[in-house]
């Protein structure tokens, strides 16, 4: 880098004054997002630790509670998120090659898929509310009080306890379920908000092959949120299915 570098007039309109050139700005932005994702990994990691400990302590209760979750909605949501990651990656691709219309369409698709995920989640949460499965007194007017199926009864709305599981331990599962999926949903809402910003500026034509760092960086965030769900789905929804017909 020559001594005269800082004397050159700033080229690209998006170049911030404290950076020497766009390459440095892009490098900094990408590294910054990765460092932020590290903090997110540790943040969710704490909850995964709590999950692991309690699951090994109360395996039957966790299996019973997990089997009571709606596997179809969970699997569909997984598919939705994976598709949204694909459309997000495609949006970055189109920005890199300068095709702004497909880029915008892919962004819109990502946002719609994200909102679909949240919609399905809302339906699931509503079901839990109706079955009085919201733990403790989080909803003061509807404390945790699920109907428990007796031996041999087949009823989808009732909790089937496996082995020596107790309702108290099942409540712990739901506590972790709501904490983890709730935190995940919060991150998705933030992600959807960020994508909306991105959409607005994309329509204004701000991004292209020379400047697409924000699209890339928010894409990284979105993929991370997808990865968290990739782990949440089997750990929360699938852990007891092989015991379902016991």
């Amino acid at each position: 880098m020559s001594h005269a570098a800082s004397a050159e007039p700033h080229g690209h309109p998006a170049l911030q004054h404290h950076f020497e050139n766009m390459e440095q700005q892009r490098e900094a932005g990408t590294l910054g997002m990765w460092v932020f994702l590290v903090t997110e990994i540790m943040f969710f990691g704490g909850m995964f630790l709590a999950y692991t400990l309690y699951r090994s302590a109360y395996p039957s209760a966790f299996a019973s509670a997990s089997n009571h979750l709606d596997i179809t909605m969970g699997a569909v949501n997984t598919g939705v998120l994976i598709l949204s990651s694909f459309t997000m990656a495609m949006s970055v691709y189109f920005t890199q090659i300068g095709k702004s219309r497909p880029q915008i369409l892919c962004l819109i698709a990502t946002i719609i898929l994200g909102l679909t995920f949240l919609g399905i989640k809302a339906v699931e949460y509503r079901q839990k509310y109706e079955d009085s499965l919201i733990p403790g007194r989080l909803i003061p007017t509807r404390p945790f009080n699920p109907a428990v199926a007796y031996e041999g009864e087949v009823n989808e709305h009732k909790l089937h306890l496996i082995g020596n599981a107790t309702v108290h331990q099942v409540e712990l599962f739901y506590w972790i379920y709501f904490a983890m999926t709730g935190m995940h949903a919060l991150h998705m809402i933030i992600g959807a908000g960020l994508l909306t910003f991105l959409l607005y500026f994309s329509i204004k034509g701000r991004y292209g092959p020379e400047y697409h760092s924000p699209v890339e960086v928010i894409g990284l965030y979105w993929h991370f949120v997808d990865i968290v769900w990739i782990f949440l789905f089997p750990l929360l929804y699938l852990l007891g299915r092989h015991l379902e017909h016991v």
Binding site: V35, F36, M42, F43, G136, L138, F144
Partner: protein, 554 residues
Amino acid sequence: MKEFEAFDLPQPSKVNYINAQYGLKSWLLTKDHKRIALLYLGSITFFFFIGGLYAMMIRLELLTPQGDLLQSTTYNKVFTQHGIIMVFFFLIPSIPATLGNFLVPMMIGAKDLAFPRINLLSWYIYMAGGLITIYALLAGGVDTGWTFYTPFSTTFSNSYVVAAGLGIFINGFSSILTGLNFIVTIHTMRAPGMTWFRLPLFIWSHYATSLVMILGTPVIAITVLLLAFERVARVGIFDPALGGDPILFQHLFWFYSHPAVYIMVLPSMGVVSELIANFSRKNIFGYKFVAFSSLAIAVFGFLVWGHHLFVASQSVYAGMIFSFLSFAVAIPSAIKVFNWTATLYKSSISFDTPMLYALGFIGLFTVGGMTGLFLAAVAVDVHLSDTYFIVAHFHYIMVGGALMGYLGGLHYWWPKISGRMYPEGWGRFSALVIFVGFNLTFLPQFVAGYLGMPRRYHAYPPEFQVFNVLSSAGASILGFGMLIPAIYFVWSMRYGKVAESNPWHLPGLEWRTQSPPPTENFEATPIVTWEAYEFAPPEETQVVGKFAGELETA
């Protein structure tokens, strides 16, 4: 290489970062890392005084064995709040947010940090967290201890746990954003020629600190959040009566809070490296060892948290592992102390105020660190846990270590930050008063703790009174000693001697621009061709046998 001696600065312009723009908005909406550092300086000093007031109440109560000044519940709130304010709102941000924010870009030759707006945001987040915590204090206080152990904090305490927890949670983001900014800046914005091994050790230690901030703070965030939800929802992740595990809380809490003490002390060690090398006019002995020891402390610091759980029904086997690792973590710190000492050997020491603080740090940190080794031995810890020995141990590190480094750094870089010199005589005097007051406060506490005086008690058996009286006397001296710099720093901003760009005649990059610096830090992007701490050979410097701090008049 005598380049810095012959460095010909153009006639410094009168415009600097302080007077470049006027008005409250230009400060509250600034993107300049130097102004943000001053915003932090003001708020951190404010919180320090609040924490100090709580300390005063503790020491006043403990003058007599009976609980006569405060009720026990009030006393619980006082020591809790002293801890929360001092740890989260003073010590953790202190050096990184003030000196770090100011100096990191300057020392690497950059115009600002990588993300200036995020830097400003981190100050606002800090203030939001602080104000919520102050609300919790004023509304009725929190009495769980700064450690928030469950199930007392989740189920039995009647105090403002959720509000205080929320304040701490929000404040954590400030820490995370600062660390993120430093890591990205140091990786991507070094000036041409500024290779990793030419970086000042201040930068290495801030890099290591930032690693700890990034990796540890999110865990306390989720822990405090779970704690708050449990308290609100009455479900037991941590409450044994509801099937939960209180030890899980302690594991999660200390996973952050132990590395947090390295967040507090690593920047201070970075300052001390600067002070020792610069005020003995000698290249630091074993630069690479000191640099890597910062990284080692950051990594090892994450492996030892279980030593806070030795008496908490943690498995004995885990206890042995954590005990061994706790001994190991002392090694990189010891490497630093040895290297600093070797730097001092046969060097040209000038006993200016910053150097006094640096020397104080070495002695007091060593005492704190050694007593930490006693506590790392499981059997000894069983006896000393929850006694005043622990209190003395961590205050030696936090006050004798971290705070000394902070004060030393403030004095050292004050001419760069404000363009004025502080009064050197008063500086040396207050450093000595602080040193004496500090030791008188905390040395008796080691003895009292060893003899069995428990911590967090407002009343104690009469045989411990003599130690407490000595300690409270020391605390008054310490408090007095710390008021003096508060006064003369403010005084110096108007009446202090005007400082030139390099009043100490030192080779660091931050001294090669005017004092105070212009908003873009340097007139032109510097090209670095010298090593860190590259001093002229002793016979060529003018400072042998003379205190370098005396300013040459223009």
